[in-house]
């Protein structure tokens, strides 16, 4: 051992941690001011009464057979919009995630990535930003004008926005997981896609599945919002009921949403268990 004094026992990271915690709080304050965040308004007597009236309308939910049949049909359409949108989004997102992630770069193996592959990766990242920064509601309004009212506009809107989100998060999941197995394959001469299927995919499968199912769940919620601008499904039905001030119909549809989200949750848990 060297003759230098033993290291001090004071944690050298402490000052930095305190500073950044305080800085985060200081940054949060203006956000609260800007949003006029005054939670005490919620419990004022007038507000409570209005809330009570609105929620009271929801009870009891409407369970007439004819209406339930309509809800079931619209529910099927909603799931179909979400699923078709997700499928299209996956077709766009998977190739982009594979191109954008740096772990599969062969030129970066011994150190620095070459200029051209770096530029291509940044380009795909930029494209992903464009795709997901336009809200699906805006895409839907665009497509409703192009393809007319109906589910197609919803499917296309979800496909575009979600391909941006899926591509980015897939890419980050793949980059954050342990890269030893993937790099070992690349170093021994395997191709990028081979390294993906034999090294990366088994490593990240569980994480990717869980995120995909969660996004499918979000797509179901999204399709509800899109329904309000005429993209069909439960959302459109909900919009109609709200315009008629028919709270009990809205309540039934909210229950259906809860059921669908619960179903997605169960599916995700089951899949993750299966993958292990």
């Amino acid at each position: 051992m060297s003759a230098a004094a033993p290291p001090a026992l004071r944690d050298p990271a402490w000052t930095g941690r305190v500073f950044w915690s305080l800085a985060a709080l200081a940054l949060l304050a203006p956000a609260l001011v800007a949003t006029e965040f005054k939670p005490w308004l919620l419990v004022e007597p007038g507000a409570l009464k209005a809330t009570g009236r609105f929620v009271g309308d929801f009870l009891p939910p409407k369970f007439e057979p004819g209406f339930l049949w309509l809800v079931a049909q619209e529910c099927w359409r909603t799931v179909a919009i979400a699923t078709a949108g997700m499928a299209l989004a996956l077709v766009l997102a998977i190739p982009m995630a594979l191109i954008a992630n740096s772990v599969l770069s062969v030129s970066a193996l011994p150190g620095r990535m070459h200029a051209l592959p770096f530029a291509v990766r940044q380009g795909v990242r930029a494209l992903l930003i464009v795709l997901r920064s336009v809200p699906e509601l805006v895409w839907a309004l665009v497509f409703v004008r192009v393809v007319g009212l109906g589910p197609t506009a919803g499917v296309l809107a979800i496909a575009l926005t979600y391909s941006g989100m899926l591509g980015k998060v897939y890419c980050e999941i793949l980059e954050s997981d342990d890269r030893a197995a993937t790099h070992a394959l690349l170093r021994n001469g395997a191709g990028r896609l081979q390294a993906f299927f034999y090294g990366m995919l088994p490593q990240s499968a569980s994480e990717l599945t869980s995120y995909t199912v969660y996004r499918w769940e979000c797509a179901i919620r999204s399709s509800a919002v899109l329904g309000f601008v005429g993209a069909g499904g439960l959302g459109q039905q909900m919009d109609n009921s709200m315009k008629m001030f028919n709270g009990s119909e809205v309540a039934t549809m909210l229950l259906v949403f809860m059921l669908l989200v619960g179903l997605a949750d169960g599916a995700s848990a089951w899949l993750r268990r299966r993958i292990g």
Partner: protein, 250 residues
């Protein structure tokens, strides 16, 4: 594969530009089919040497020659093709979790498979026999269909070694193959490796902490502080040389 190092030096990719290289200029030549053990204390640069030989690390100075050609003058695709003829087995076996042993072992064949064939092999293993034979040499054939993340540390290490046997590489670079094996398994594993390398005419370079095992190799390289201190036939590696190699830093 024949290899030659002309004053090759290397540093870790993360190291600062001005820092001392992990591997100081090394002059070395190895004939095809030779078997070489590299010994030395921790931090001597043994792993860096293997990485430099595997084209996993670009030389900071000097030149590497594999079969008479400098790999770093090749385009990326040519270098990747050449890497398919080398096999670097890191000390911690890089096995992807959730994968089965058969798939992990057959992954070593990827460089000579088309993408389509490798995908088909994921659906149904194309050459399970090769994987089983390689595993059998390490007394692990019964684990063929098990998941790699359910194996013990020693079993994982042997799966990593079985991979080498399945590859078509002609230069085997193996880092600490015995670190999690008990003495009898270690002897078996090193026998299996050297025998298989001889059968295929592959050049074998392995780093070792077990000096007694290293002296069973025809040629032993002693490294310390990023330098080659000796490069001798095993018979000439005396106890004094080894004591000096492993002596505490003063």
């Amino acid at each position: 594969m024949k290899l030659a190092l002309h004053g090759l030096a290397a540093r870790h990719p993360a190291a600062a530009g001005g820092s001392a290289p992990a591997l100081r200029p090394v002059r070395l030549s190895v004939e095809p089919g030779e078997q070489l053990a590299v010994v030395g204390p921790s931090g001597a640069g043994k792993t860096t040497l293997l990485h430099a030989l595997a084209c996993a690390l670009q030389p900071a100075a000097g030149r590497l020659e594999l079969d008479g050609a400098d790999p770093w003058t090749l385009p990326v695709s040519g270098l990747q093709k050449l890497r398919g003829r080398l096999f670097l087995a890191p000390q911690a076996p890089p096995l992807a979790p959730r994968q089965r042993v058969v798939t992990a072992v057959l992954a070593a064949r990827l460089p000579r498979q088309t993408l389509l064939a490798s995908l088909r092999s994921l659906v149904y293993p194309l050459n399970a026999e090769a994987a089983r034979d390689a595993l059998a040499r390490f007394d692990l054939a019964d684990k063929l269909w098990d998941r790699v993340d359910r194996l013990s540390g020693g079993e994982r290490q042997r799966v990593g070694l079985a991979r080498v046997l399945v590859s078509a590489a002609s230069l085997w670079l193996i880092d600490e193959p015995l670190s999690s094996l008990d003495p009898s398994r270690a002897a078996m594993a090193i026998d299996a490796l050297t025998r298989a390398a001889r059968e295929r005419g592959a050049t074998l370079i392995t780093t070792l902490h077990q000096v007694d095992v290293a002296t069973r190799f025809p040629r032993v390289l002693g490294m310390r502080d990023g330098e080659v201190r000796f490069d001798l036939p095993a018979a000439e590696v005396s106890a004094e040389r080894l004591a000096a190699l492993y002596a505490e830093h003063s």
